[in-house]
Symmetry: C2
DNA sequence: TTCTACATATGCGTTTTACCTATACTGGCC
DNA sequence: GGCCAGTATAGGTAAAACGCATATGTAGAA
């Protein structure tokens, strides 16, 4: 039996008497972030991991899940990849955004604008009578 | 074996060749929404279901999960409830926000402000060079 | 009576994700 | 050469959140 950290909620856990940590995360936010980074230029997995914090994903990305997601995106045709043997260091798989991936990124941007509006509605009502 | 709808992702699914539906939902957004509604006045489950759309949750709330969540919130001490037998119709359980629930609502509001900023960062970078 | 709306509740399967482990190659150091 | 840290990719497992289905009961309308 392997040791694991004590189980806790991913989005809310008690940090003291009457104190809670809440993470208001957008579901699957890593996916549009990857598509956005790849729209700017092709990158490989480790580079993507380095650049994700620029978009607000701070210390929250698991490298294993990142590669899992990249493979899923490729299966769906949103990105394509090939091995880059010529570069120095270990073999890297370089990912590139496809036309379809570009379309999905646009869809994500619309969805994120709606999400921002929803959050705004909530916060307005919250401020209304605090 | 019961019939079930064909399995699909909750947050992204193909709706045609090259067309996708993406839902940029905030994780557990129903929870702060319930706390916010209950800050205004005590309500029972079905009333909460009716009012959730006001906050942007359109047709997305499952009544079963709503009751499950209310019981979880009560277990954690964020809301309290009692049966209202005096009212006409079926017995209703009326929920009320506790002091601790009020604190968690404040924590949620902070987290949602951060989430809005993160989305803003993404959208700014997206608009930058479309 | 049957049908619909109101009201609360549980069971189950899928998806997403955190945490952990495995594999392998590279380049620098001794 | 051998060792080791860093780079790079990959898979296993379990928990949490959620959608869908189902169950139970009241009350009024058709």
């Amino acid at each position: 039996m392997r040791h694991r950290g004590h189980p806790r909620s991913r989005s809310r856990h008690r940090i003291g008497p009457g104190r809670w940590h809440v993470h208001a995360r957008v579901e699957r936010f890593v996916e549009p972030s990857l598509l956005l980074l790849l729209r700017e230029r092709p990158l490989h997995g480790y580079e993507l991991l380095d650049r994700l914090p620029e978009l607000g994903l701070e210390g929250r990305i698991d490298i294993g899940n990142l590669y899992r997601l990249l493979r899923a995106l490729e299966e769906e045709g949103l990105v394509s990849s090939e091995w880059s043997d010529e570069l120095p260091g270990p073999a890297k798989r370089t990912y590139e955004l496809t036309a379809e991936g570009r379309q999905v990124l646009d869809t994500w941007a619309e969805a994120l604008r709606r999400a921002r509006t929803t959050i705004g509605t909530f916060l307005d009502r919250y401020e209304e009578r605090r």
